[in-house]
């Protein structure tokens, strides 16, 4: 099958049985790859109401038709599972070089089933596939493990690994790769940990079949040329995502002290140019990237090296915790990477705990003696370690902000900043209604990458609640995740603004099948609706209430910064949902109607 590795690798960890099956052509047609494959296999193969940490849950790792080919940023890999954090759909995107190697090993997906009786790592070298003993790696940090495995097998082997947090079942544990790239959100690392899989070691040498080689080469060259000619390339490469820290601070979107404000008085110390000047050592990119956003940094204060921090981490481990020193943020970033926890959720849950402490809900007796005030970097470092090891007070936070606040009570649920149980990423949405809706309706919880609508808010009027705004969010949700389906990075389109039509000749030349953006957006809409059906299947009573944002965004106007005194009215929150459901073809309770399910050819998934 042109554009595909050709096989799905199925590994039963309970029995040790390993088998390869041909990648199903009809699934490739309807779901293309990446997160499309992920939700297809998850819905088909994991039984309803499965325990995320049980035998029945699966980890589905998928490349797409662009992965490993000469397409800008064709190094994206999807990790789908049932989320232990939210109880719903989890899909985390991993950059780096892992997915290219997956394709070169002739694989489109790896499906990990069951639970291994002892710690193992999965070793794949072309046709050689084995589960190998990982008892000597268990307990070690992600970066240490990657280094050891690279030294053992060689630099050309690609490694994905969990840290101690994944082993310990921290609900927002992540998967680390390439010394600083993560499949970050939803607790994918915890699922791997409960399956006793410490790492995957991957190497392949096979070619990927392409339908029309000359046309593919030309389409690839055209895409790379567009990136090289982009007006913003030089600046983007200098600063990466940190370029927007100053802008977010200026417009009141930079989360500050548990989202009580959107501008930070020490924000200037976290801006891209400061970081570039003070800690960045070099740029670092993923497979086939013409515009590397990764920044490899060195902290003088701690004498440590880390990839990052990028924007989200600066927001969540910096301003949201009241930390105004980029070296402190970088150090917190490194601790999270090595211990194996998502920086966004970690920042969110610590920010909530800090607010509890400052309100007197927690005292030092509760926090194991930590003076948990905003701005206390040493307390943040100590707490990251405690969370990863589920030690003392850290065990409460390891459950995520929704559960921690429900257990704590005393009104702390009101300032637990999450949607569907996932901590909100780094955009303050007191007065940015499109971005607020994007978070409310995102299919994994409060994550930004499906619809980065904050810029649209600023362009058209941030407080407006219009059908056009809602349509924009829906279009972004259908279109943007197509990059996660195709297995390539979206940032060349998002940030360099290259023409999206340049991708179509490449896809046709690779697969031999002509597809229009209208057709591909329908695939995106099909996937979006299937993820919705998955939530409905898994959670009794799932509906409109699950799409509400944290009350902070309609009750607590910031007192300082660019958005001081600004808030979204609750009736506008409801209006956003009304418009959204109507345009999606969903009921007033947010359930896809039979007509919508039929139009998208999803009847087989309705239970």
């Amino acid at each position: 099958m042109n554009g595909y590795g050709g096989s799905v690798l199925r590994v039963n960890l309970s029995t040790g049985q390993i088998q390869k099956q041909p990648t199903p052509q009809d699934v490739a047609r309807d779901f293309l790859g990446g997160r499309g494959f992920g939700i297809y296999f998850l819905t088909k193969e994991v039984p309803p109401k499965a325990d995320p940490f049980g035998q029945e849950n699966k980890m589905i790792i998928s490349s797409g038709p662009f992965s490993g080919l000469m397409i800008p940023g064709a190094g994206k890999c999807d990790w789908t599972t049932k989320s232990p954090l939210t109880g719903g759909y989890a899909s985390a995107s991993l950059g780096g070089h892992f997915t290219a190697e997956l394709k070169y090993a002739g694989l489109d997906s790896i499906i990990l089933e069951g639970i291994s009786p002892k710690p193992v790592y999965l070793f794949i070298d072309d046709n050689q596939v084995e589960l190998r003993d990982a008892s000597h790696l268990w307990g070690k940090g992600s970066i240490t493990v990657e280094k050891e495995l690279k030294e053992q097998y060689g630099e050309e082997y690609q490694i994905a690994t969990i840290g101690p947090a994944g082993e310990n079942g921290v609900l927002f544990a992540h998967i680390n790769h390439d010394y600083g790239r993560q499949a970050g959100r939803g607790g994918v690392g915890a699922v791997l940990g409960t399956k006793k899989v410490k790492a995957i070691v991957l190497h392949g040498t096979k070619s990927i079949p392409v339908a029309d080689l000359p046309a593919y080469r030309q389409a690839g060259i055209n895409l790379f040329k567009a990136c090289k000619d982009a007006e913003i390339l030089k600046e983007w490469q200098s600063y990466g995502t940190t370029m927007v820290v100053s802008w977010c601070d200026e417009v009141g979107a930079l989360p500050t002290r548990n989202f009580t404000a959107g501008s930070f008085e020490d924000g200037k110390n976290l801006y891209g140019p400061v970081m570039r000047k003070t800690i960045v050592v070099s740029d670092k990119g993923c497979f086939a990237c013409p515009s590397p956003c990764g920044k490899y940094s060195h902290t003088r204060r701690y004498n440590t090296y880390v990839e990052g921090p990028e924007y989200e981490t600066i927001g969540m481990l910096g301003s949201d915790l009241g930390l105004g020193n980029i070296e402190d943020v970088a150090q917190a970033n490194l601790l999270c990477d090595d211990l194996g926890i998502d920086t966004i959720s970690t920042g969110g849950v610590i920010a909530w705990a800090m607010e509890c402490f400052e309100r007197g809900i927690f005292t030092k007796k509760d926090t194991d003696g930590l003076e948990l005030k905003f701005g206390n970097a040493q307390a943040v470092f100590a707490l990251i370690e405690k969370i990863a090891r589920k030690d003392g007070f850290g065990a409460l936070l390891a459950e995520g902000v929704k559960r921690a606040s429900q257990k704590t009570g005393q009104g702390s649920e009101k300032f637990a900043i999450h949607v569907k149980g996932m901590e909100q990423s780094a955009y303050a949405t007191h007065n940015a209604t499109a971005m607020l809706l994007a978070y409310m309706t995102c299919d994994v919880g409060a994550h930004h990458n499906r619809a980065w609508a904050i810029t649209y808010d600023i362009q058209v009027g941030r407080e407006k609640v219009t059908t056009e705004k809602v349509a924009r969010v829906i279009w972004l949700q259908n279109f943007r995740p197509m990059f996660d389906v195709l297995g390539a990075c979206r940032l060349q389109w998002v940030e360099l603004s290259i023409d999206r039509d340049l991708y179509l000749p490449a896809l046709q030349a690779i697969t031999g099948i002509p597809r229009s953006w209208k057709d591909l957006e329908t695939v995106g809409e099909r996937i979006w609706n299937l993820t919705r059906l998955y939530w409905i299947r898994e959670i009794d009573g799932f509906g409109r209430e699950w799409d509400l944002p944290a009350p902070r965004f309609y009750e607590d106007a910031p007192k300082t910064g660019a958005t001081a005194g600004q808030i979204t009215r609750f009736e506008d929150v409801q209006k956003l949902l009304d418009y959204y459901y109507e345009q999606r073809g969903w009921s007033k309770n947010g359930i896809p109607t039979p007509e919508t399910i039929a139009r998208l050819n999803l009847e087989q998934f309705v239970y």
Binding site: M243, E250, R480
Partner: protein, 75 residues
């Protein structure tokens, strides 16, 4: 005493589709933006002689200033 202001993306519409315009020195970038009726919030990045600067940067003679609009895809 003047500097070159280069505009990119959607910002070009504020100078009738041109690529650049001369602005006086000794005013801030924010003042220059305001005189062109560009909403400051939609300017994501100010780059002066190759370095990112704030909108409060005071324009010097012969500076080359690039203003980049917020992106976010599909502009």
């Amino acid at each position: 005493m003047a500097a070159i202001l280069k505009l990119f993306g959607i910002l070009k519409k504020y100078i009738q589709g041109a690529d650049q315009i001369m602005v006086p020195a000794n005013i801030t970038v924010r003042q220059a933006i305001t005189t062109l009726h560009i909403p400051p919030e939609i300017v994501a990045l100010v780059v002066v002689n190759g370095n990112q600067q704030s909108k409060e940067y005071i324009i010097q003679n012969d500076d080359e200033i690039k203003l980049l609009a917020i992106m976010g895809g599909g502009r």
